[in-house]
Subunit: 252 residues, 5 copies
């Protein structure tokens, strides 16, 4: 995540918080926070194993801090491997395997160098890809669940507040203040969902797609190298995976 | 479900209930409960056969109490079977079949030992897997239906309450109390859905995916053993199904 | 549908109606009913051909009154057919075809006895299955559409009531009564959807899945018989379609 | 669409309008109509090309006025073609091609008579079918979009009305009338969506499915004729596409 | 986008804005705008990389300004290529490649002229197509996300406004004005979503489908040319992709 994005996000969040900040006291209410946060966490932990929920936190840190290698770099490296394989034989890749920045690429090379049958390589790598995608979608699932539970517990909190207020209402002039407090949980729920859970779930989805793309490029590339394709053909095959604008960058 | 999860869930639920507990009398209303619970159960039983609904309760107990064997254990066992089969022939697995902790694995071994054709084994096991998944999704379906009906009957109850209150309204000072009672059913519906039905439906989904994963590992493993694969190849194929972090544990 | 289910449903519905019954007069309003029921029926008939809508009523009657033969019975019958075919040749099934309780099974046997090529049998039966599923899903579609239109027309009725009330409001003391009447259509819409349309749509879905299961068992079984499989193999193949608990019943 | 359907629809719509008709003046407000209709049309035209939106109107006219030929008629015709082809050779179909009521059937026959390879015929016809379905789903898409935009602009109109009313509120006694006017746009939006757009979108879906069914019957039939199947086999294959009740009619 | 569409859209938008314009001062509130716009942009940038969001703006400009070549033009060109290939050999296409208006078509021709194996051409082109579709769906994804976040931040703004107003309410006569201001953010959110984000997302979807259609025509056409098909057969195959009305235009 580059600096421009960070600034934009901070600016966006600030605009929302500015509306609150002048009367910050009105908007802080610990019991209300406990209902929404506690309920959301409780429901999420009923839904997902504790280990998975904690594992997701690490995924999120990666999604925001770790900068993706662009697929063009991976293509460049695979084409260079193809050149080596073409010139010196596929066994020559053994010594270059550790150059691979991606453990998935490294594993693919080892499989190819070991002379594993192409169908078996494809089988192993696509199985790994399928389950990688499933594990990633678990991360999205956790945040989507939280983004669904948070507004629900916001509404539960507001209902609790309204029922208390309405039952004990004696002085009509206090209705306003009671209602304001009751609405706080709905606000908390909406903010947790829309400023936190849903954008993160979306981010994880975008990251997953990008990572899957790189892995698909690797599988196609290794199979192409193993079948003895000309490096130019390898490049042509892999270029089909990326956008024309990325291709121009690559060519430049 | 380990102790940490239990504590977290209890803490979460407590935070929500704490908001209620001080005025618990306000929040207990039997006729309101009967509308929501009765309506939800009635609609669910119109939707699903009684046997299925009762069967689901057992599934839920398992989902929360029964601890899953991690897939690494299953892989370890299959690799050990592969070693036996390689060394002493596939018939030697007969005597080891009852070691299998999973009845699906045991059945697979018997099929392989009986010399059933690989396509037939695959056919039988994947059919069984497909219908197992369908039966599991029935369980989720029951809870998703309940989680949809509960808020709906909550709203029906609130409408009934509002109509009664509004029709007989004479003294405006009683509006508050009447409204509070009317809102109770909405609260009950939202709590049943979000603190009970939806998280359980989610839990069943997570469990189903994990169980399917183990079964897919078993099918792949048995076919690999039957085709006479080297135990190292069997392990490599099966490792593709699990996450790199699990693999490290396994290696350790 | 057995007696236990009926009792549960009646109990559930009663709990909801009890809340109404004491003030039944408040909750009966013919013009309000006409808006919701008339609008729902009108929109449904714009959506689906009259013939289909009427045909659905018959499907519903079957879904609730007709008791499904359990798949184990069908499996038992197919295995018995397999034994006959094995012992006396497939032509011997001709005379047993009318024993088949299911017209689909009967048709399958005739096809097999006629010496139709296995691919053609599979083709004809799976086509029939696919279109049977589509016709069944039409039934669900009608009830889902009604369950969506009913609350919509409930809201339309409430808006009409509110607009009339608000426009002609002179005496604030009549607001309550006017609002109560306006809310009635919303209540009717919610009740029609959640106590009638949605549970029935769900029921039809469950029934369809069960019926499809039986038909898939039949297709697999007939093909297996035709290919000359041993009755034990036929049984093994078909048992994969059903749950382990059903299998135990079968064995017993 | 037969007369019974028309009567039912008119009755349904009338029941809703009757609730309005006595106070019709309250429910007619041109500025409110312009917001909802104008906004819906504007948003729809941003979403879809003008040509497509206009093309959809023709589709709708067909969907309601043009009576479908039942699939049994098409099957009967194809079986008669099969008989001709069997007796006089496939070239004899040339002179009968114009009997085909359906241009898709006519085209299929020409392809078969021209001696086009079966795979190519299947390729061309299924491609045509796939894109026909896509074009039909465009029609549904337009109405679903309109049915989504109409309530949204209804809400926008109500918000505009509420904001104006609340800002300039001086005399509390005018609140009622102002609110009534503000709610009109919501009512218009709900009526446009539920009495017009959604049922028509549903109708188009039902029609598309029926038309696809007929086209699939034609493809299967032509390929069966070309492969020289016995007319009885052709009929058997095609009968699998339709419901048992339709088959009985056919036999009768 | 032709002039008629522009006029219709402007007319539609004007009808909505006219309702506002007379009291324009009531509807402009910068802090409210900042909450909705800032929140939506912030959440969108958390969800998608900055580069993707900026890239989408270019896509939108194209979607509205760039007029699509109709598929019939592409078919005409491919048929003319087929004629050349048939008459002068496929190498003769080399010199005509730059006539191709579409870079995808140009690339396809170069692949065919280079004598690339048909399976490889198909592989490369369909991979490119699949990832092109994925990149396009990213554009839709950005606008759908914005169209979901905008109403959510509209609600958040209204909750903030209501809580402030209710907490500090002293003079009941100011409720109206405060509420009006609070509702402004909901109005902004609804207008951004329904007059901007959702129709654009829909537009991008329609454009993507049209573009995919042209690319599928190109793939089918190049493979058909390479396999040496008669130009008439090429035309027949490609005509199956487009609607009968377009075909008539073509013939004319």
């Amino acid at each position: 995540m580059d600096i421009a994005t960070v600034i934009c996000i901070i600016a966006g969040v600030t605009l929302v918080l500015m509306a609150i900040i002048s009367n910050i006291v009105l908007f802080i209410n610990f019991p209300a926070m406990l209902i929404v946060v506690g309920g959301t966490i409780g429901a999420t932990l009923m839904n997902f194993p504790l280990g998975d929920v904690l594992g997701v936190l690490k995924t999120v840190k990666n999604a925001f801090l770790h900068k993706d290698k662009p697929p063009t770099d991976v293509i460049e490296m695979i084409v260079s491997f193809a050149t080596t394989a073409r010139r010196e034989g596929i066994l020559a890749l053994e010594s270059r395997a550790e150059e691979a920045s991606d453990p998935f690429l490294e594993k693919s090379i080892h499989l190819a160098v070991d002379g594993t049958a192409p169908e078996l390589i494809k089988d192993i790598l696509t199985t790994e890809l399928a389950f990688l995608e499933e594990r990633h979608s678990l991360g999205q699932g956790v945040f989507i669940a939280m983004g669904t539970f948070a507004p629900a517990f916001g509404m539960i909190g507001t209902l609790i507040g309204l029922i208390q207020m309405l039952s004990t209402m004696e002085d009509p002039s206090t209705i306003g203040a009671g209602m304001a407090v009751a609405l706080l949980t709905t606000l908390y729920g909406a903010m947790i969902a829309n400023m936190f859970c849903m954008p993160i779930a979306g981010k994880l989805k975008v990251r997953t797609r990008m990572e899957m793309l790189v892995k698909e490029v690797i599988i196609e590339g290794i199979l192409s190298i193993q079948s003895g394709d000309n490096p130019r053909v390898v490049e042509q095959k892999l270029m089909a995976f990326i956008s024309p604008s990325m291709r121009k960058e690559q060519a430049a």
